[in-house]
């Protein structure tokens, strides 16, 4: 028997000191779960992974038709499909991560009540699945840019930063919903509503510059406004301006959601097995 073995102490209300170390130890499980979900989604489908390209492409076409051709909204000097797609990317990532993470714990209830692992792995891997979709959709954006002969400028290099903000927003909201959903199934009904509603209150089909100046700060209370504006600023370059006070407000809100989400999740996860 080695004496160097660490002793694990289980007690009521004890916050485990090696939680994050455990999370690191289970890092492979992240990828296995994400890999499972991606693999399963396209099993027994004919066109398989092409679905990941088809959905955003069709959405983009409809949005362009409605907002540009019918509603005649301004395009800030860039091809309207690119304007829409630069926003559709983060929005679809957020919405699918949000609903995926929200359902993730309940759909893995069997695992939760039978095996120990840091529960954070489950919603996190749901977010990773959406992130893979996001990367695949990114190919369409590149295709559109080539099609329209649109060259991005140096701001493009800041894009990873905004991707990170989008990731934090999706993760924070996802953790909240996942943990709440375990206890209150009401949130299963709220999620599709938020996703549907969010598409219209976020500047996906239009540029947020059409919002009157005095309302823009208020508009930025929706954290996705900051994320989408950031994406457009980085991808479209040129004349696109970032409304900094609004962006900072959105960023602050994203951080608050993420941190409180982690805290709430950690606080409730010990009882998941009892209530799920």
């Amino acid at each position: 028997m080695s004496t160097s073995q660490s002793v694990l102490v289980l007690e009521a209300g004890r916050t485990e000191s090696h939680y994050w170390r455990d999370l690191w130890r289970y890092r492979e499980l992240f990828f296995f779960l994400a890999w499972r979900d991606i693999l399963v989604r396209y099993k027994q489908t004919v066109i398989g992974i092409v679905w990941a390209l088809g959905r955003p492409l069709i959405t983009m076409m409809v949005f362009t038709l409605v907002f540009s051709k019918l509603a005649k909204l301004p395009s800030e000097g860039v091809p309207y499909p690119i304007l829409v797609f630069a926003a559709l990317l983060p929005w679809q990532f957020f919405s699918s991560a949000f609903s995926g993470a929200g359902d993730s714990l309940i759909s893995n209830a069997g695992m939760i009540s039978k095996v120990y692992f840091p529960r954070l792995v489950i919603p996190a891997s749901a977010v990773i699945v959406s992130f893979v979709d996001f990367l695949i959709s990114g190919i369409i954006l590149v295709g559109l840019m080539i099609w329209y002969g649109f060259a991005p400028n140096l701001r493009m290099l800041t894009l990873p930063l905004f991707i990170f903000v989008a990731f934090a927003a999706a993760m924070g909201a996802g953790l909240w919903i996942a943990a709440l959903n375990v206890k209150y199934r009401d949130f299963r009904i709220i999620v599709p509503f938020v996703v549907q509603f969010g598409l219209y209150v976020s500047p996906v089909g239009f540029s947020s510059s059409i919002v009157p100046e005095k309302w823009r700060l208020l508009y930025s209370i929706n954290p996705m406004v900051g994320v989408i504006d950031g994406f457009r600023w980085a991808i479209l370059g040129g004349d696109t301006q970032l409304y900094w006070p609004g962006f900072m407000l959105s960023l602050a809100l994203v951080l608050v959601i993420l941190i409180t989400g982690i805290i709430y999740f950690r606080k409730t996860e010990k009882n998941f097995a009892d209530v799920i």
């Binding site: 007690e11 130890r25 693999l39 099993k43 039978k114 095996v115 120990y116 010990k270 209530v275």
Partner: protein
């Protein structure tokens, strides 16, 4: 020896709802409850709110303490609802205790269910990786054991078939194979042996014995007393969330069995079964002299007299008794229609008695159980709890039983023996014995 698991005053409380069927609350309930409490406070500010009658506390475990030493194979026994599974859930960190403390030294792997996280759409190969990762193995570890796992599971041919097309036996074999190749310092197992065919069960039990012999610690919950007695050196007996007995397996098992079933009485009155078409009323064990008793000599016949009631005319029904050892291993069973084939055709309503005779000099001196039962598979009628009787070493024909106490096997048959010298000087006296 150092203790690898030490459990101190462990308790776990559940709140059980009486009215609501759902285990989860809805937001509406929380809001209305909150509003109710708030209005209550407004109206009666000094009266404590009444406890919600729809919720009741339930202690699944209460002040449980024990230690497990390195390399121990510990069985956890107890009736349904004794808290065994809750204990394992806490030990494997699935849920946290309400109070008390547990210290664990070493890596724990728990197997509360085989095939946790198996996905029906994935192939056998993919599921091995996924399930391994869920149980805490690293990818490299799974890779290095992949061939062993496949060989153990016996599903080589179907590795690239989605497991939804597997037979349930194949599914379970694959799932157990992955779990069996975990290499933790402490292994926690909950009744997974109740799967697969007899041969595979034997293989599983063998694998677990192997794990124990490697000096690793095993905690094993099962209702299969036979498996427990073969695998475990020590036992913890739980009842209603409390520890009743801890110690060497035979001792604890004996106390569990005697507590769990009807006491040793010359006559037993059965309860329950009022809603069944066949209901057992009573049973008694009597000696050849007709006197009811619970302890018999080895050389006397035991008459088992069972009274039962038939409520309506039935056909195809067997009424019988099963002989069980103290470990609840079935020795044999016997139905009444073997003697009266016409009873299988038709049974008239009324109260009946049936007498079975257990011949002398068959069973070794020990405690045995008799279970009564009536069935027309798949219909089962009344199955009362088994009751006990004892055979003493008095009057036994076996010298070894008299001189060295009870040894080996449940049967005390005296076989014929013939020994003779083929070469050498001494002509051994020929001896011959027959079964009597």
């Amino acid at each position: 020896m150092s203790s690898v698991i030490s459990v101190e005053n462990l308790s776990k409380k559940y709140i059980i709802g009486h009215q609501k069927q759902e285990r989860y609350t809805t937001l509406r309930d929380v809001l209305t409850d909150g509003a109710k409490r708030f209005t209550h406070k407004l109206i009666h500010p000094f009266v404590a709110p009444v406890n919600d009658p729809t919720h009741e506390e339930f202690w699944a475990l209460k002040d449980v303490s024990f230690d497990v030493q390195q390399g121990d194979r510990v069985g956890i026994i107890g009736r349904n609802g004794a808290g065994k599974s809750t204990l394992l859930k806490i030990l494997s960190r699935i849920t946290e205790p309400t109070s008390g403390k547990i210290s664990i030294k070493g890596r724990v792997a728990s197997l509360l269910e085989v095939g946790t996280g198996f996905h029906p759409e994935l192939t056998g190969r993919e599921n091995i990786y996924l399930n391994g990762a869920i149980l805490g193995m690293s990818k490299a570890e799974i890779k290095s054991k992949f061939d062993e796992i496949v060989a153990f599971s016996e599903v080589e041919k179907f590795l690239d078939t989605p497991v939804k097309r597997y037979s349930s036996g194949m599914y379970v074999r694959l799932a157990f194979a992955v779990a069996a190749h975990l290499e933790p310092e402490i292994l926690i197992v909950d009744e997974v042996l109740a799967v697969g065919d007899a041969q595979f069960q034997k293989k599983c039990l063998g694998k677990m014995q192997e794990v124990g012999q490697e000096g690793r610690t095993v905690l094993f919950v099962s209702h299969n007393m036979d498996a427990i007695s073969r695998l475990c050196s020590r036992c913890v007996y739980l009842d209603h969330g409390k520890v009743v007995n801890i110690g060497p397996t035979p001792e604890v098992m004996e106390s569990y069995i005697t507590a769990g079933f009807s006491h040793q009485n010359a006559e037993v009155i059965f309860t329950g079964g009022e809603d069944k078409d066949v209901r057992f009323i009573s049973a008694r064990t009597v000696g050849t002299d007709g006197v009811p008793k619970a302890c018999f000599r080895s050389d006397e016949d035991i008459r088992v007299i069972v009274a039962y009631q038939i409520k309506r005319q039935l056909s195809g029904v067997s009424v019988g008794i099963s002989m069980l050892t103290a470990e609840q291993t079935l020795l044999w069973n016997m139905t009444d229609w073997e003697e009266y084939p016409e009873l299988l055709e038709k049974r008239e309503p009324g109260t009946w008695t049936c007498e079975w005779i257990i011949p002398a000099n068959i069973l070794k001196p020990a405690r045995y159980f008799i279970a009564c039962g009536a069935a027309n598979p798949p219909n089962y009628y009344h199955y009362p709890d088994p009751f006990a009787f004892e055979i003493s070493s008095e009057g036994t024909q076996r010298l070894s039983y008299k001189q060295f106490g009870v040894k080996g096997g449940p049967i005390a048959l005296k076989m014929g023996v013939k020994t003779e010298a083929i070469s050498g000087q001494n002509n051994l006296q020929e001896e011959e014995c027959n079964v009597q």
